[in-house]
């Protein structure tokens, strides 16, 4: 149990900055998900916390202690790796015991903890097998078991589910969430999968280009994306970002905040039917209709800019591809941005 504090943390590889100054406070027992595209520095950040990468400048505090110069072993953390990194020549039991033995834990205590972890993860029958005799999901469990037995101050997860197939990934995601709730261990979780990020996180840290774009609960981040990047990154299909000049009925634009030149509209906030109250409309033609079960995605090319936007509509609308269409959106559903700053133009999001 511990808090994690990152203070102005930076990392350069030679002259190339990978992490450009991160501030983050993780409360005790909280699960923080770091999410972002490849190369945004999220894994580097996690590895710095683990002690596997040196820190260029800044502070890392785990449980109130500055650990920047500490060895990984001294930081009281456990890490689950993307490719599991199980020791292939040891049995599952050997893998679980290794960290405890290195720390000189008494035999009885080791056995108790291994048994406990095996019970929690339901890997008891596998204890005497070698990692190569396990399936992907079982290896994943063993990797988690190796983290649990240590009873560390914090768990670090480095894209732990990305090597699993889609079905197993959903299942393990739920298990990780349940496990973390049960153990109440402070956790940092890195992923590029935004669905994983949304479902797991107590708080979400969206990163891009070595900087934090937004920190907040998943609903906060989804409802009020702080920047254009977050707006385009979180949500599937992504938010439509439209230049204000493409809007057909200019009179309603006046009510948008000053300096707004880009508006974001979620696909489910675009409608074919005119909406009540203050709204805007966009003219275009249907480009493609994608029925995906309960709802359909309609790709519409706007007449004014030639830009393609997506709206999701429940059911299966009868639309001809190539037909003219007018889309409507309520002003209340619109996210206003300025393209120069990349920020929201209405009340700014506090945590930036």
């Amino acid at each position: 149990m511990a808090t994690i504090n990152l203070v102005d943390l930076k990392k350069n590889y030679g002259n190339v900055p990978a992490v450009k100054g991160i501030n983050l406070q993780v409360a005790d027992g909280e699960l923080i998900v770091l999410v972002g595209p490849s190369g945004c520095g999220k894994s580097t950040l996690l590895r710095m916390v683990a002690g596997l990468e040196t820190v260029t400048s800044g502070r890392i505090e785990i449980g109130g202690k500055d650990v920047v110069k500490a060895e990984p072993a001294e930081r009281d953390i456990a890490m689950v790796f993307q490719n599991y990194a199980l020791y292939p020549h040891m049995s599952v039991r050997g893998n679980l015991e290794y960290g405890l033995k290195n720390r000189g834990t008494p035999r009885g205590e080791i056995d108790r903890r291994v048994q406990e972890a095996a019970d929690i993860l339901e890997i008891g029958p596998l204890l005497d097998r070698k990692p190569r005799q396990l399936s992907g999901g079982q290896r994943q469990r063993v990797a988690m078991g190796r983290a649990i037995v240590r009873e560390p101050a914090a768990f670090l997860f480095d894209e732990p589910l990305s090597n699993l197939d889609a079905k197993l990934r959903v299942q393990m995601r739920v298990e990780i969430r349940k496990l973390q709730r049960r153990l109440k261990t402070t956790s940092l979780y890195v992923t590029h999968d935004q669905l994983e990020a949304m479902t797991l996180a107590d708080r979400l840290v969206v990163m891009n280009g070595g900087l934090v774009e937004q920190i907040g609960t998943p609903t906060e981040v989804y409802d009020r994306p702080a920047t254009l990047f977050v707006a385009g990154f979180i949500g599937s299909p992504p938010m439509n970002l439209i230049e204000v000049s493409s809007v057909a009925n200019k009179n309603s634009i006046g009510t948008l905040p000053a300096k707004t030149d880009i508006i974001g509209i979620r696909p489910d906030a675009l409608f074919i039917a005119p909406q009540e109250g203050a709204s805007i409309s966009l003219k275009g033609s249907v480009e493609l209709l994608e029925p995906i079960g309960g709802e359909s995605h309609v790709h519409v090319r706007l007449d004014s800019s030639g830009q393609s936007v997506v709206l999701s509509i429940p059911g299966r609308p009868h639309l001809e591809e190539g037909a003219d269409i007018t889309l409507h959106a309520r002003l209340a559903d619109i996210h206003p941005y300025n393209s120069d700053t990349g920020r929201r133009t209405d009340s700014p999001v506090a945590n930036l």
């Binding site: 002690g51 596997l52 072993a73 953390i77 790796f81 020791y87 292939p88 020549h89 990692p131 190569r132």
Partner: protein, 294 residues
């Protein structure tokens, strides 16, 4: 991957294509080996006019001869020393190079060079350096109070050939160890570091066990090398002396057969060597594939 399969209907073509290689193997390997087996059952008169078939008498004599038993012992000492020395040094170098990031390639290239040197040249090189009269090594050793003369001291002669033979083999072992080390995933090292193992412990509990297939393979190869590939080196440095101190099996075959002209005994010795090679190869094929730890 898609491979294009071409079918040649001609039944003789495969044999024709194999024929050159088969001919070389038959004429230069199988036939001489057969001759050696045959000679090992025969005794030749001093003038080479007449040979008599004497069954296993050559072998019986061989194993009752103190010189041969001595040679067996020397071979064992030599092979074990060379294997241990060259393997441990090359593992050390491989680990060191694996830790260097920027100049890794340069070191690797430099460390591989000795392998390109012919055994005889290696022998002469070390013979020159350790030459009791003009060599640099005895001069330096004298400063340490050690009087070096491998021409009279059997132990020193053995040390010399062991050093020379190991030096050449280090390159080969080094390459395999470097490749082996690079195939150990970095994440395992990191996981072990987080699990509280220091660098030394990580090496012995994680890296070394994962290298065991490489180590086992090299063990066999090195024993083979020390026993059979070091003839030129011995010939150039010590000629098996002083007083048989470095007369290993493969050199004794040559010395007894071509210098002593005792063809029967020499042939019997080469058959014994052949059996050892067969045994080692069998072990290699049988276990090298299977001894993989994971």
């Amino acid at each position: 991957m898609q491979t294009k399969r071409t079918i040649f209907p001609n039944k003789l073509l495969p044999y024709a294509l194999l024929a050159p290689q088969l001919a070389v193997t038959l004429i230069f390997f199988i036939w001489p080996a057969g001759q050696a087996v045959k000679s090992s059952f025969e005794r030749e008169d001093p003038f080479g006019f007449r040979t008599t078939f004497i069954w296993f008498e050559n072998y019986a004599r061989l194993f009752s001869e103190p010189g041969y038993v001595n040679s067996l012992t020397k071979t064992a000492i030599f092979a074990i020393s060379v294997t241990l020395l060259s393997m441990s040094l090359s593992l050390l170098l491989a680990v060191a190079v694996n830790r260097v990031i920027r100049t890794n390639r340069a070191y690797t290239t430099l460390l591989v060079w000795p392998y390109a040197v012919a055994p005889v040249v290696v022998g002469i090189l070390w013979w020159f350096m350790f030459n009791p009269t003009i060599g640099i090594a005895p001069y330096l050793l004298r400063g340490l109070g050690i009087s070096w003369n491998h021409r009279v001291d059997g132990t020193q002669a053995m040390i010399l050939v062991v050093i020379a033979a190991s030096w050449k083999q280090i390159s080969y072992n080094f390459l395999f160890f470097v490749a082996g080390l690079q195939s150990v995933p970095q994440a395992l090292n990191e996981a072990a570091a987080i699990d509280g193992a220091g660098p030394f412990k990580r090496f012995w509990t994680i890296v070394f066990p994962l290298l065991s297939p490489t180590t086992f393979f090299l063990l066999i190869v090195n024993i083979n090398y020390a026993m059979f590939d070091t003839f030129g080196l011995i010939d150039a440095t010590t000629n098996g002396g002083p007083n048989q101190a470095t007369n290993i099996l493969v050199y004794k075959v040559y010395a007894d057969g071509f210098l002593g002209l005792n063809i029967g005994s020499s042939a019997a010795q080469s058959v014994v060597l052949m059996l050892i090679v067969i045994a080692l190869t069998a072990i290699q094929f049988r276990y090298v594939e299977r001894r993989v730890q994971y």
